[in-house]
């Protein structure tokens, strides 16, 4: 109650409302990404492989919203993929929740701000999904001979997904950033860079420009 009232006083939405909106947006994002993937993207072949949006979406959610949201989103998207494609249930969920959790921890521990982080994250997420799926299938038993070209296919898939990782991240960011709960660390950093709240910036502002002789 108090938190909601304080939020309203600050001109922000109440925390409960933000969480609901975030969950709704994540659900919509997961549903649409799987449908678009299966209906269109999977049928477009680039260098003999198809791009896969789903691990990129999960990685992006983890990077933006943290490990808890990332892991839950990964589990849900993976389960939906397994259900929609009549695959062995649980395999993709397990892999995607690992991707979501790992990218979320990266956000929580390092909070990388470099613009190319989603590209590297997308490549790693795709590699993890490809290699992980191969390992699980080997553990479950493969009836047919396995070609060494499998490695090549995984590698090309990683490259193709890395190419589209940045636009996918940008779309996910645009969709969920407005409803993300405020991150104190990010708010502090933004304040420092704009000179608003940093205690170090204020004295120099008060003192004005340093005379040339004093340098």
């Amino acid at each position: 109650m108090i938190r909601d009232a304080l939020s309203r006083r600050d001109g922000r939405e109440p925390a409960g409302s933000e969480s609901t909106r975030l969950i709704l947006r994540l659900l919509t994002l997961g549903f649409v990404s799987v449908i678009v993937q299966e209906s269109a993207v999977s049928q477009i072949s680039i260098f003999g492989v198809s791009a896969d949006l789903t691990p990129l979406v999960v990685m992006s959610v983890g990077l933006l919203a943290g490990s808890l949201a990332g892991a839950t989103m990964g589990f849900a998207v993976g389960l939906f993929v397994d259900l929609a494609l009549v695959q062995t249930l649980g395999v993709t969920s397990l892999l995607y929740l690992t991707i979501g959790y790992w990218s979320g921890r990266l956000h929580e521990l390092r909070d990388p701000s470099h613009g190319l982080v989603p590209l590297a994250g997308g490549a790693l997420a795709t590699a993890l999904a490809g290699i992980g799926m191969a390992l699980v299938q080997f553990l479950l038993g493969v009836d047919s001979p396995v070609s060494f070209l499998l490695l090549q296919q995984i590698f090309v898939g990683v490259l193709v997904n890395a190419l589209i990782a940045l636009p996918v991240y940008a779309v996910v960011q645009r969709l969920i950033q407005p409803v993300l709960p405020a991150d104190p660390r990010r708010r502090r950093r933004r304040a420092y860079t704009t000179g608003g709240l940093s205690p170090l910036s204020r004295p120099s502002e008060r003192l004005g420009a340093i005379p040339r002789s004093a340098r």
Partner: protein, 304 residues
């Protein structure tokens, strides 16, 4: 506060990992008629209109991307295809003569055509969803049990075999392609002594199949056509009728043939691109097929 967050995070992660492992174990050990499989089929049925709609809406995007890749591919294939046309025109004349003689002889001997492709009713269906992954090669089509489709029905596209129906729901079906690791087809190499083997996919290479269990001294050359063998024994017949083209021999290395009893085959149909198929349904579907046991609409089927 921080400890509480850490505990909560770990608890959620543990629950999700546990749920995934329980689902995996339960699903893997269950029969196709179990609750989890039924839920999965129900969700496929519910989602199919959404996916069909999305597939139609997004078809211009697919077409534009396909146009570029098709143009480049077509240019590289022109020369080889012209050569093939010349060769096939000559062969067609020979085969038409042979077919005439064959028909007369079959009539004289009294063989029926119940195991051939003519005994099936082809049913056209559109592909509305495709699996991009290396491990599960399946497509979903917009015809199902209500249209006469049954689990185990062979599926062809562009006059070549693409797979078989593994799940038939009332309005949609799931087709497992011949490149799926669970698939195997008894096949014959046309020409020579008519060598027969089992065609299996090479996992990781969707454009190649392996014809295994051949005679080590078989006389097989590159370019020979591979078709379904098809067999019949009293009430049982194989999943695939004989004579459906599957692919051409792309590598018939004698060393590989002697050591591994296998040759490489390229599928006739581009299994990543077809958008419509023909399901070979049987009128009545009464004949029992090998591997099916009882003909249930959703039975998971093995090789044929």
């Amino acid at each position: 506060m921080h400890d509480k967050q850490v505990r909560r995070r770990r608890a959620v992660l543990g629950v999700l990992v546990g749920a995934s492992l329980i689902l995996l174990t339960a699903y893997f050990g269950e029969s196709p008629s179990s609750p989890l499989h039924q839920i999965q089929r129900g969700i496929v049925e519910v989602l199919s209109p959404v996916q069909e709609g999305a597939s139609k809406v997004l078809s211009p995007v697919r077409d534009v991307a396909g146009w570029f890749s098709d143009t480049f591919r077509a240019r590289s294939q022109v020369k080889a295809l012209r050569r093939n046309v010349q060769k096939l025109t000559f062969e067609l004349a020979q085969f038409q003569t042979d077919a005439l003689v064959n028909r007369q002889l079959r009539h004289e001997v009294g063989l029926d055509g119940s195991s051939g492709i003519s005994a099936y009713d082809p049913l056209a269906a559109n592909v509305y969803q495709r699996d991009p992954q290396l491990w599960y090669a399946t497509v979903s089509v917009d015809k199902g049990y209500d249209d006469g489709v049954r689990a185990g029905d062979p599926v062809i596209a562009d006059r070549g075999l693409v797979g078989k129906v593994t799940t038939a729901d009332p309005t949609v079906s799931v087709v497992t392609l011949i490149t799926d690791h669970s698939n195997a087809v008894t096949s014959t190499v046309l020409g020579g002594r008519g060598e027969t083997g089992v065609l299996v996919p090479a996992v990781g290479n969707p454009s190649q199949l392996l014809l295994q269990y051949l005679d080590p001294h078989a006389q097989i050359t590159v370019g020979q056509l591979v078709v379904t063998a098809g067999w019949k024994s009293k009430p049982l017949d194989s999943l695939y009728p004989p004579g459906i083209p599957i692919g051409t021999v792309s590598n018939a290395d004698q060393t590989q043939l002697v050591n591994n009893q296998q040759v490489q085959v390229n599928p006739i149909v581009d299994l990543r691109r077809f958008t419509s198929v023909q399901i070979l349904t049987r009128p009545g579907g009464a004949t029992q097929r090998a591997g099916l046991g009882g003909v249930t609409p959703t039975a998971q089927v093995g090789g044929g």
